[in-house]
Symmetry: none
Subunit: 198 residues, 4 copies
């Protein structure tokens, strides 16, 4: 590998280390309460070093979420086993997304509550999730799969139920698995509480 390329790789790797540390730190205490000092300590650098890799606290914060969002987008592009029915596809994708959520739980939680640049709000982030799921549903749903429900309402309900189980899990049983709830969430999403098969 030529030196220039190695250099580039090293920088990227350092940036990534810092981002991972920042994700932990922000997840622990939130944006405002996390100081540059905290971020530096978590990353194993001094504060001025962080400024060599990122332009400031806000930029670091933004970069943390970009990284997370990119990863989530990638999961949406996971190739699905062929021959699945709609309900199986939903369950499959739910499981994948929940796995990611589980792995990055702290970040995901804070992500929901983030002040974002230009005053965008939590609601905006939520709406983004809804729209991503809506796009996905359009891709995989066949006529009749959504019953009489609009794409938008379906995506809203799905994200809602999923988030609810995530938050309950965060509050109560982080030690256990989250992705195992995928079948339950799928059923509630498709058939509600009464329509569930015994």
């Amino acid at each position: 590998m030529p030196p220039a390329a190695r250099r580039t790789r090293e920088i990227a790797s350092t940036r990534d280390d810092i981002l991972a540390a920042a994700e932990r730190a922000f997840a622990r205490t939130g944006y405002e309460a996390t100081t540059m000092q905290d971020l530096a300590r978590e990353a194993g650098y001094t504060v001025p070093s962080l400024y060599a890799y990122f332009d400031g606290k806000q930029e670091l914060y933004d970069a943390v979420w970009s990284r997370l969002d990119d990863e989530r987008a990638q999961v949406f592009d996971t190739i699905m086993p062929s021959g699945l029915r709609f309900s199986q596809r939903v369950e499959f994708m739910l499981a994948r997304q929940l796995e990611l959520t589980e792995r990055r739980r702290g970040a995901v939680e804070i992500r929901m509550a983030s002040p974002q640049r230009h005053g965008k709000r939590r609601a905006t982030h939520f709406d983004g999730m809804v729209q991503r799921w809506a796009r996905w549903l359009r891709r995989v749903a066949e006529p009749g799969d959504l019953g009489a429900t609009s794409l938008d309402d379906a995506a809203t309900a799905l994200v809602g139920v999923m988030n609810a189980f995530f938050l309950r899990w965060m509050a109560r049983d982080v030690a256990t698995g989250l992705a195992v709830k995928a079948p339950l969430i799928t059923e509630l999403f498709l058939s509600g509480i009464t329509g569930r098969r015994r």
Copy 2:
């Protein structure tokens, strides 16, 4: 009314004015970004005056949420029309809760994302909501109403879908009504996307 009693009433009223102002201010900019100066200006007092009524910023913040939580608890105690079926009861309570949410939208949104004293977290607040709804469901549901779904899972799904529609509304159409979504949410909760009656 004796002077002492009037004094007590006045104090309570002033405290309430301050809390209402604080709710607006916190809803606008969040906990950290809202300064005591902001709170005082919004309330029409000077900063030291606020300290005469509350012990500090954190206490003010906590009191804001207590007030909101109390109000929500009261809504749960609203007397329901008699003779309603389960689905009608759910829809009725959803409508009442959504009305409150609509009225206090800003505060409710921030409430979800609040750093709290002693590291309690957003997830904890969510879990509180789930448990309150679970208690309510136990009171109003008759055998069979929840199908094969546990009380806890049912409450989780309900709060999830409700929150989802609230957030979507915040992101997109605050100008319109939120409570009108109560029937839709009820159906999605009970029958999922496929089981909905045409």
Copy 3:
């Protein structure tokens, strides 16, 4: 005096105290090398208190010069004894200006070397002085008083010689008087080195 008026006076007086202290501090070490800490110590306040009276370091700095410039403008409006010849008028005004300069020597010196808002420079400040003297000369000079010299060139020469004697005085003999040089400067200005009467 009504309380409100007294309050206003107190604030003005405090601001003035701070400005006087800032003038001393800036004169000692220049703009950049003078810290808010230095300014606060010199004024007998803490740093945050300074921020209650001025918006920041640059504003303080600007205010110092405004104060000085105002005072200099006032000197230009001093009423002159009547019946003076042109040379006597020049000498009179030079003496008054030099007295002010002497009193505020440090500030005046730094004033010449100041980075100013928006990148204006020392030259700009100098040009301002030239133009003020030019206006004054137009007011007091009668036809023939300036010989063949344009108003602008005359003012330039006058400010140049005056400044030169000020700087030499700063470098060598601050202990003595500066205003006593007014007659000499007047002669050099009017007649040059050779034309001087014995």
Copy 4:
């Protein structure tokens, strides 16, 4: 040329390149506001490289002025055409000095306002100029040339008027020539505003 000698020459040349760049940079933004980064960029080196040639920022700054002062001293040693009268000599030297000033305008302006190590002051630099001109005047003036004016006062006036025209030129018409003012300055210096020949 032996290698060692070439090396020495190379080092001297590199130092000079760096100084020229530093002069530009300092002239643009002043001492404090110019960072080592700025200096390195202007010179086409990296920051640590600058440290290989100079001991630090202050040393670089000092070296810039030494270079300028040396050059000015050299101009004072320019051989003058023979047979000139005093006024012609003054005009000749003024023209040469103004040419240098014009070429290095930015540096010269900053030079006047330079904080120097050990608290030497701007006034000191001015006084240095006065003394150099005084030495030169003593060399070229013959009895009677200065009229009744002392050498010191004459030099002071000369430097003052010269500086004044320089600063006015900086403020107003950098695009035009400065050295053309030499005759005017000479006349004002010798005969003042009234004594000028038509």
